[in-house]
Subunit: 320 residues, 2 copies
């Protein structure tokens, strides 16, 4: 699995950072998922190798504009680019009504079907190689985190059990290895009972705006990576008041408490600059977070790319 | 008056060109008007000196997404940037309903008032230094051209007429020179009857999508500049079929027929590249247009900037 950040600014874009959008790519093939779609996300996609034809789903964390104003344009462009396959949209209910109003008002007739799934019902959605689960967060608008768990994990056949059961070497072994349940000697046999898994399934949590990271305690079980907003430093968060956002240290302290191995912070207020000598700088958020977290900490930039390998090792890919 | 192109691509953005948006700046002060607002227009504005505080009005030519999907984001950012002054939006009626639906669905509460004016009623709108008139075009959706005419033109007093009338040199002369009508010896006297205008008022026509440039014949009277779409070359326009767009030669032939001195083409299909050696290139559109037009022809690029001086001279400013 692979993460590619398309925007890391909160609220408004800056000259160097777009508003929210993250692409999660499947480990095999070209399939990808878009989590949030701020204005200009389609422009960012133009500078990557991502294709709208292989986009499996768009998941919106909440209805605020910096997380969804790019939706009409990205759908229109996918349509003009010839996409025909239905597209799943997992989003709070308001998004469905808004997109319908948009199509109506702007004469947008998409050549593909949108299949809406309401985040407010905390759905679990299974795609071919990834299962998505939904968790509620705390923000000014209903906000959600999405967990992406690998469905098929590399496994070896348990030869001892197969032999014990008397299943003959051949096509049935192949089916079991590929994850299919079989019928043998009048009995239903489950694939997972005859496999030895090499690794735990990969799991990445991607959270929307949220001022209570603790809400993700159960959600983070088994996750190798959490992507979470860190809009401010602690001092700035206090000045900003009750706006429903987290600061770096708060998120990092939570990640430490659940022994999460990898934390990626994003959604930095536009006042924070990339330059580490600037005031304030994104480095200020890093320092605070690092002070309370012993895992691997990453602060995303636009076009930052990370990979999570089969063994659960997470790393930033070097830029082009 | 000054034109700054923020996007020159039709339908979808490319790596080097955004979708439609043009800034028209007043000759004095910082006031500006935004004509069309495709997705990412606010991102383009970040790379200019334009401020959302001095934006006088947004005028939308028609409801298609590549001309209006940047509206919610630009309004939200103007609000977050502290704008308080009301903002005039001249647009087809569908835009008002769509923006209201957007504010509702995405919890967008703007700290300034939107004053909508319905283009479908072909309004004439007077701002402090510019008057805007509206003209109907031909496209798949109701589409409009907006004419921007300078309201105050430099003038000298007609001393001979003032002396003839016996008006004493002093404050009354000053009022007449500044364009105010006066009462003198029981008679209402009109400012314009005592002025000698140095130049014709400046006038720029900016048209939306349109497949019948001839419709602008009357609108172009007195205009020094027409900005018009030229989505294709003639050959490509024939292939594209009845999609409501113009090709360069069609627009240029019209401009020639009304002896328009300056024509700026824009809104090129994304397949046309900037590189003159590419196939197809925007240069192909230029060549066709140039073959039938004897005035000054310009093909806009993103961030192309043009100035129209008091004497009606139009010129491209060299890039930074």
């Amino acid at each position: 699995m692979n993460l590619l950040f398309l925007g890391t600014s909160a609220g408004v874009p800056t000259k160097t950072r777009n508003v929210s959008g993250v692409a999660l790519r499947e480990s095999k093939g070209k399939g990808w998922y878009l989590i949030d779609c701020g204005e200009g996300t389609q422009h960012q996609v133009l500078h990557t190798k991502l294709s709208f034809h292989s986009l499996k789903a768009i998941l919106i964390t909440h209805v605020h504009g910096d997380h969804c104003y790019g939706l009409p344009g990205i759908l229109a462009s996918a349509g003009m680019g010839g996409r025909k396959a239905p597209l799943t949209i997992v989003a709070p209910a308001g998004i469905k009504a808004w997109l319908e109003a948009t199509c109506e008002a702007t004469q947008l007739c998409l050549p593909f079907t949108l299949e809406f799934i309401d985040s407010d019902e905390l759905p679990s959605v299974e795609f071919e190689s990834i299962a998505v689960t939904t968790f509620r967060l705390s923000h000014r608008a209903p906000s959600y985190a999405y967990g992406f768990t690998e469905r098929k994990v590399d496994a070896d056949l348990n030869i001892e059990k197969l032999t014990q059961k008397g299943i003959p070497r051949g096509p049935l072994w192949g089916q079991l290895k590929q994850g299919f349940d079989i019928e043998f000697a009048g009995e239903q046999l489950k694939s997972q009972d005859f496999l030895i898994f090499k690794n735990k399934p990969r799991k990445i949590m991607i959270a929307g705006d949220n001022d209570q990271p603790d809400l993700l305690m159960d959600a983070c079980t088994g996750a190798q990576v959490l992507v979470h907003e860190a809009t401010y430093t602690e001092e700035m968060a206090e000045k900003a008041g009750d706006v429903g956002h987290s600061y770096g240290k708060l998120v990092a302290a939570f990640a430490e408490s659940v022994q999460l191995p990898n934390l990626v912070l994003t959604h930095f207020s536009p006042r924070y600059q990339l330059n580490s000598n600037a005031t304030p700088s994104i480095e200020d958020i890093r320092k605070e977070a690092q002070s309370v977290y012993s895992g691997s900490l990453y602060l995303a930039r636009d076009f930052s790319e990370y990979t999570l390998d089969k063994a659960g090792r997470f790393a930033e890919l070097s830029g082009e």
